[in-house]
Symmetry: C2
Subunit: 1000 residues, 2 copies
Amino acid sequence: MAQPLSFQQVILKLHQFWADQGCAIWEPYNVQVGAGTGNPATLLRVLGPEPWRVAYVEPSVRPDDGRYGENPNRMQKYYQYQVILKPDPGNPQELYLQSLEALGINPREHDIRFVEDNWESPALGAWGLGWEVWLDGQEITQFTYFQQAGGLELNPVSVEITYGVERIVLALQGKNSAWEIDWMPGLTYADMIYNEEVEYCRYYFDIADVEALKKVYDTYEREMGRALEGDSLISAYDYVLKCSHLFNVLDTRGAIGVTERAVYFRRMRDMTRTVAKAYAEKREALGHPLLKMKDYWDIDRTDILPVFPQPSTAPADVLIEIGVEELPAGDVDDVIAHLIKAAPALFEQAKLTHSGIETMVTPRRIVLSAKQVSPRQPDEEQIVKGPPAARAFDANGQPTQAAIGFAKGKGLDVSALKRETIDGGEYVTALVKTEGKPATSVLMEVLPQLIAGIKFGKVMRWNETNVAFSRPIRWLLALWGDTLLPVEYAGISSNRTTRGLRPYGSPELSVKSAADYFRVIKEQGIILNYEERRAAITQQINALAQEINGTIPNDPDLLDEVVNLVEAPTALRGTFEARDLELPRDVLVTVMRKHQRYFPVEDANGQLMASFIAVRNGDAEHLDKVIHGNEHVLRARFSDARYFFSQDIKKPLADGMKRLETLTFQEKLGSMRDKNDRVAKLVAPLGHLLNIPEADIQIAQQGAQLAKADLAKQMVVEMTSLQGIMGREYALREGAAPEVAQVIFEHWLPRGAGDQLPQSAAGRIVALADKLDSLTGLFAAGLAPKATSDPYGLRRSALGIIQILAHSQTDVDLNDALQIAAGLQPIPLNAQQQQQLKEFLIGRLDAWLNEETDAPRDVIRAVLAEQGLNPARAYRAVQELTKWTQHADWAVILDNFARCVRITRPEKVMYSVRPDAFTESLERDLYAAYESVAKQLTPSSGIDEMLTAFALIVPAIQAFFNTILVHAEDKAVRENRVALLQAISNLQKGRADLSELSGF
Amino acid sequence: MAQPLSFQQVILKLHQFWADQGCAIWEPYNVQVGAGTGNPATLLRVLGPEPWRVAYVEPSVRPDDGRYGENPNRMQKYYQYQVILKPDPGNPQELYLQSLEALGINPREHDIRFVEDNWESPALGAWGLGWEVWLDGQEITQFTYFQQAGGLELNPVSVEITYGVERIVLALQGKNSAWEIDWMPGLTYADMIYNEEVEYCRYYFDIADVEALKKVYDTYEREMGRALEGDSLISAYDYVLKCSHLFNVLDTRGAIGVTERAVYFRRMRDMTRTVAKAYAEKREALGHPLLKMKDYWDIDRTDILPVFPQPSTAPADVLIEIGVEELPAGDVDDVIAHLIKAAPALFEQAKLTHSGIETMVTPRRIVLSAKQVSPRQPDEEQIVKGPPAARAFDANGQPTQAAIGFAKGKGLDVSALKRETIDGGEYVTALVKTEGKPATSVLMEVLPQLIAGIKFGKVMRWNETNVAFSRPIRWLLALWGDTLLPVEYAGISSNRTTRGLRPYGSPELSVKSAADYFRVIKEQGIILNYEERRAAITQQINALAQEINGTIPNDPDLLDEVVNLVEAPTALRGTFEARDLELPRDVLVTVMRKHQRYFPVEDANGQLMASFIAVRNGDAEHLDKVIHGNEHVLRARFSDARYFFSQDIKKPLADGMKRLETLTFQEKLGSMRDKNDRVAKLVAPLGHLLNIPEADIQIAQQGAQLAKADLAKQMVVEMTSLQGIMGREYALREGAAPEVAQVIFEHWLPRGAGDQLPQSAAGRIVALADKLDSLTGLFAAGLAPKATSDPYGLRRSALGIIQILAHSQTDVDLNDALQIAAGLQPIPLNAQQQQQLKEFLIGRLDAWLNEETDAPRDVIRAVLAEQGLNPARAYRAVQELTKWTQHADWAVILDNFARCVRITRPEKVMYSVRPDAFTESLERDLYAAYESVAKQLTPSSGIDEMLTAFALIVPAIQAFFNTILVHAEDKAVRENRVALLQAISNLQKGRADLSELSGF
């Protein structure tokens, strides 16, 4: 293609391409939508059994993506090209790639990748699995197998292809910014819509009247209901879209708090669901008119009749390849882990021997190779017991009908029966020989079970078989030596064809034999084995880094992921602008790593260099184009980040607090600002409670003032994972003391399982205060987490408190802390809620101890019974107690303690020991022993000290029980003895309840 | 084209076609718009000097066009294909016709016509001139030269082409209903959008919450202001569109009354204007960036340098043809009328003789033919007076500088000067000879003036010359014999090429000479002469009617219009479904005549037949296709009418009154129902005042109950001209008495100038009551008409009252009628307003009398001074008085009357005659004469009786004045004489004020 297509030509070409595929060409919707999915031609038409094929362009409005026209790639409005194929035609990826070729994108010259992306729209009650399609690192398309829409399960599933037109044209025309691309000769994209872009941003960010538009939302929601009731589904649906747009505007204005957002989403989802349900019912009532298109749109599937191979007499190699559309990286791992166990087990169960099994998985193929598999199962003989001999033969010794029937049933002549004595009785028996089946037959039977046995975290359906898998299975290669092994799964029949590497156009390649397969695959440059791919990548990326005297920071997670994203890795190095290095390192790394799966490069001083390393799928041909594309993407992303950064530092961090007044934390608990204020107030009393030095408390207080301020910063709005990090960064830039800035960062910690904990005392106080505030406040608001939902992440808050206290060994009774925190809430935490909260915390501590320590359940139970609200002590206690339970003489110790406890348990009264009232010396001895150890113990003494003390008096206890009758007839004597044992029993008080232990 | 294009292919083809013409391809707007014009790609981009070319499809939403999917052509949403060419490329009609050919519409096989249609959108502050394009009678496109948008004058003008995609596809595919057309193979238009259509109708007609949406409108209007203030013009504009859609919904719900509508329109217009103004200013501030496209989009105009023809020596025929895009029928008439006078005058003024001038006008050409025009103007001689001889010659008789200079100025040698005595003084004179110019030169100069002199009711601009004309001038043919006459006008240079008939593709035809022109034109089948065309059409249509034993009702207006719509008429006859004849005749005729310019056909009994006759432009080739197309159109229109009719008769007429409660007449005056109630109440007192028999009053009362009820009927909403007609029809169908039904019809009369008047007494009462109610009510509401605006048509109401009273000779003083009517209004008519209203009525009567009678101004003034509020009497009076003023002895009569009046005028007191106090016999004689005639006069006596009476006493008056001194010294005598003359003067009282007459 000499001249790259213009923007408008790309759209026309796509129209033509998809019209040629039998799609109806539709128009953008005349209501503002956030995506082509919102157009009823998608969201409603995908419902129900009627087939549907449609293509259209959709100017998609996403107010909060507005950048006042300052970003090369990101705007509040961009053009999607949307295709729906329902049902899945069987080759949608191929059709899609052909459409790119029609536009002039030669797959050989680019790195085109299907990168896992699971799409979900809570407002539309819709989700699906699929990919972002990357062109040289740039996302150019969303490719989704729609599983649900409007809350309804989809059957058949629809394939949704959503092109980002600007980005494709950008790549075609080789421009650096969408604004520069040619809409048509002489007219740029900017000429067409730049001014409007800037103006819309003004409206969405600065102008829209929040209160007034909220009222319009309410009105439209009511209109939706009226329309629905009046059987005007499409009007109802329009109002759903209008509400959705209004919500987006309000949200962009920053007018929607966390809870409010949840409420809005629920409202939108409910609306969509109601409409979708009504629509589906209506189509049914209409008799699903578009079923008439079934033939026109149906898949032209050639059904291959399985040809039964001739049974083999010699062992042969078996090769199975399950060809799939790109598996998510995590799923590749799962498949490997599963098959390593399942494949050998399968052969064992199938009674087929072999000389070695190997399983190999890439994003596009799951391969099972078994060497020298036995041609047949072994024959087997089995003696089967028949009727008693007495019944099997008549008086004349002639076989009766019973014997004849039994023999016949086993396929034998009656003469072949024998008489044998079994369990003392005489029976007829038959020797039944089972002939081993040919391996080919067995494999045809069990291989589908093997595939079906692969489980994934998330599965999808794609065709009429409704088989579920991670991604669609598109071909099956199954060979017994050089013979085709007929297998069928998910509507696909096996053949002897594999498909090559994507950038080579996934050519269909015929495979002569199981052994030949590896030659064919190797020729395509595909590395089947995970470890080999990993090694190749490691070598390549390190080499590239070294070329510029750099190193790649260790990042095994990223490496693991990249290994699972390619079949034929070729690393490449690109650069970005040096000025981008002025951005905080965390920002740069987050963008490179999380968004692009690029490896950052460090210099000798550990400073980031203005380079990145990526790994393409394919060989080195046209690598320059691929590098150029990837550089462009990163440039755009960093531009975005710079934009946020420059916006953010225009206003001091403290200004953010004002903004947080408009961000609702929770309706009853006020704004995020209110929350921050409460946390700040909580710092001092909490610090005192925790015995933190006054200097640290003061630092904590300063940090707390700005703790949440960065939530108002755009960088954080955009990349939530940077919350706290940016707060620290901005605070430092404003000249805050480093230890104060650190508090801002640390107060968010830990952010999830495995995350670091606050290191400074000041950070700990604020982190605890924040979480205590959330817990007390939200429990008071009746928002304790439920089994399936924990929208405020209270489990994480509780766990955070536990981890901080336990690991910093901060001995505090959470009862006290909760009381202080509750006192600052605008609404009371009533007794019942308080109880509920404590049980919740104990439950979390229980779970954490269980995971964190090797302590047996009973030990944890014993400790929690007494120290459930003091994580630090509990943590120590379970460890100590566990050790004690492993002592050789533990049984003796526990038994003696248990005697003291058990005998006093029925007593209703706690008696006081009257030392002068003891009548026996053994009593006195025991008391003296008790006294001598008890005075060593303080309230902070732990299990160790307590049990050590107790162990010392075990002999005295044994002596006591050997001689003394506790229940003496003299009431005073009895009570004094009980008092002594009660005192001993009470040694565990506040430490553990040993009666919870097994063996007690 | 073997297979007609599908709906989606038509759109793609149009995209391709217009992209090839350099248009940017744009997308439908993501806000509901009523037309592609609303898309900012039209409404905003046409502003200012920047060039622009764009094409896009636009699903256009017009809620009140919804028919629940029951109409084959009409829906609440249809697809426009919109093209904007700015500036006019010079050949937009040709481009458009080429685009139709690209779709497979062969102009040779169809009747494609450009039928005047002047487009205006008050809400958008926009208007333009142009056409509907008809394809076999079906409107398929709006073609407009945009003159104004957003209240701003457009410069350059934009060409707007708006295709109705459905109708084009319908014709292409030969379907009977849009619902049946193929969107793509296998999928019909109905498959795509039928259900939605029905559902939208439900929402718009039955569901939408009026009050809530009105509030949203208010909110959006405020948002528009905020957005504008914040420099977000596009958001502001979006809100204009959203308001506009909301208004349409409210209107469709029937929630907008007449005044409210006006208010809404004003609000929308104001919004649009503000945004448009801001947009234009902003583009200017940006430096009009798209001016860069000027070269790319500029018109490739070949400038022909005028070649000056060699002066001719012999007379020659002159032929001028101004080629235009289709002129409106009315403008054809105007041009003919103008040229018949102007063309000869021009030649006379140009001093060119000829042997006959003919002007011929068709919709596409204005032709001026002059035979045997003289080759040159005649030479002329003129004696010019110079300086006085005394100054011209010095003492020596030598010419001075003054003489030399004078001679030089006239191009003469000083020796050529003569001395002549002029007006008694001696001067030098020069004989100046002016050589006549060649005719060709003169014509080149004056012909542009001739064209410029043609005036039209409405004119437009189209290109950069900003010349104004009825429609664009596209070519100029100008020949002097066989020589090209170079003329330039409106940026066009003349040449010797004419263009043939549209259906033949308007071929460019070279013309050899002025005489050859007629041959060329005749070969095209074009009839240039209006009368000839008229005769041809008359003959053809009558012949077609006769073939089915029918006749065409006489309808000269329709015939005149049709004559001006074609160049080469060929009549055709089509049929419609017999069941459509069940519709009221008025409906059928209105549809055929007004919408389609078809001639209805009557049978021998004067009953309509199920046929129509139309006249196509072109020959009879493929007439079957044309007939088929026209039949389809009429079928669709009648289907629409049937739909309305069936809807209307579902509910009794009286039910409409309930509906009228929601139709605001005027805010202060309540609903249309309130108005109807007032009119009904007014009937009895008004009837009594007019002395109408009680029986008629009762009929009037019954009719008045339902007078406005048909306003709620859909047929009337759709075709306002049927108001009253449908009311009568529906009343009769419900069994109302014919005279009552007639009242419903008649109360609207007269509906305009020249319309019939109510014939029944009952009809008259209600017609008067209705108008009196409007006048008193609206004046009370402060809504008297202003110079430029009369939104309630109060001038027509006043005129109606005058005509009814005058022609029915109903003698009534409107003072009384107004008082009764005012008494029924919900708000008072104060004294000042009452005075204003009376003056308004007198003013109207004045104007009407002036037009209706031959009375001189002074006569009318005289009568109005006394009878301005009694139209019937005034009407009679001016006629009588006019006659009197034409009597031979009128001067004497008037003079004697004047003497009586003048001499008594200074008196402040009216004296009573004391017959016994006269002192002279002449006094007594005069008094006796007066007494004898005065007692013949009653208050209802008119001018005739009064003046006849007066004439009888003129001799007595003359005798009196000859002898009697009125101002006698005796006060009593004097006062008695004055009293007598006052009595005589008073004869005119209540009849006229003769002092207003000239000669008084």
